[in-house]
Amino acid sequence: MSQTGEEATVIELIELRRNYGPVTALAGLSLTVPKGCLYGLLGPNGAGKTTALRIVCTLLAPDSGSVRVGGLDALAQPRAVRELLGYVAQEVAIDKILTGRELLELQGALYHLNAKRLQARILELSGLLGMDDWLDRRCGSYSGGMRRRLDLASGLLHDPAVLVLDEPTVGLDIESRAAIWQVLRQLRDQGTTVLLSSHYLEEIDALADRLAIIDGGQVIAEGTPTSLKSALGGDRVTLRVREFSNAPEAERVREVLERCPGVRQVVVNLAQGHSLNLVVENATVIEPLRRQLAAADLPVFSLSQSRPSLDDVYLQATGRTLMDAELQVAGSRDPKAERKQAMR
């Protein structure tokens, strides 16, 4: 990825705001996706990723802000923008009674492909996505992975300049996930701009040329995975004094650690049995740190050390781990309200 902000921009979101009743989904989100970039939106469920993607795809209008896709104002020229876009939604809406081929034929007609080109594209995509054996079976019999491949095929049918995917591999088997990753990389290499959302850190880390971390409807960090991680500096240490500590014990450990020289930050990780996530200046800090804990009668049970990850980037920006953020929203989600938001 050699593109920078100075070069061609394909998607540009400026100050997007959108509320669903009292709930704020987007609180001034701005984003720039360069041409030919595989761009990731990372954030916990409920961060506003889906809302932002639905706005890019002209399915939803923002309360305020502007959206440009391929140089066009998406709010003023939605139809022209739709021709540029392929969209793979999170909830796979498939007509179970049609075969994969029939669904693709319908999709092709809606994009006004002529019969010859349509059949050629179906053949091509079916091979690319490993769907040949399934194409003439009814969609109702497809596995989750096959459905997602079909959805990806229908998003790619008209050879769009921009492909938008909402959580494309959530809940998928490893084989389907690998197949989809490979196709996305190929597309990027051929010059397609790909914008995808995910709450899987590894996915964004492995796939994305650039990423934006989204939290509370805003971009809180943006850059390439490498630049974001190296900007953090320091080493990461995960430490436990017991396999599963309770909260008061974790607090005591934290107090001891915070007094150790060379320790920059200590966070109690609720999702991982109150383990402690530390940012330390370098590896030499660790031995004195073990001694301090032993002196406080809190000997180290396990300790692992690593370079910063995207989770650390997220932690640094929000003060909580992505997993904790997920757990926090898991209980407060309202599937009925979410379905209503997506319903016309």
Binding site: C57, R79, L110, H112
Partner: protein, 290 residues
Amino acid sequence: MTSAPSMTSTVAKPGASISGNSALADQGQEILALTKRLFLQLARRPSTLVAGVLQPLIWLVLFGALFAKAPEGLLPDGMSYGRFLGAGVIVFTAFSAALNAGLPVMFDREFGFLNRLLVAPLRSRSSIVIASVLYITSLSLVQSLAIMGTAALLGYGWPGVYGLVLVLVTLLLLVFAVTGLSLGLAFALPGHIELIAVIFVVNLPLLFASTALAPISFMPTWLGWLAALNPLTFAIEPIRAAYAGQVSLSAVVLQAPYGALTGAHCLLVLAVLAAGLFLLIRPLLDRKLS
């Protein structure tokens, strides 16, 4: 990155479609594909088609038998009850089928399939509505013809060539009106449970408060008024007249409490109703589909 000139504009050709075809050809392609989908669904799940013919058939046979021994001369022109009922059941068939028009649309809304359609660069989103109307019109006419054929076999008569044309035109107008209503409901109501509830509540009362099962002269005044204002009656009476061999539009087909109605009156009312309903739901469709 905020400077507009550096945005790629080469990828976008506003106004031009991918196909390079005319807008009309593109929209034709959309409508054809969307209609084909509905017919594929029907072919693979024919139960709605079968049930749509069976239900009125049961009405025809059982209700026809119930009053088979009605005293002669009770009905106008000494008509047998089977013959009288035939027109009512034909209209009821078309009406019920059209009333269900909104269901596939509602399911598409609920399952998100509509979003798949809306993210595509449709020339006109009216294609979605037109496909539904085409589908439900053909379906209800086929069902009605099946009932007409069965009624003929049961000895309840056949309208003849001109009569058949009159019957089909009448049914078409009614189907348009009811389809408009049903599609409007499919976009206005929150889910299919509500839509089915409305269909359930509307269906039979409209049948009973019409001249499908009994002439107005049998009814108490208040019900007679209701029947004379019921759109079903405006479809039933010209069809009943056509079955009786009367195809002139200027002949009186019904003595309503407010005056005599000719076939032309009835068709006009149905046409105005259909046009009115589509005008009424248009803002709703525009809002939901834009």
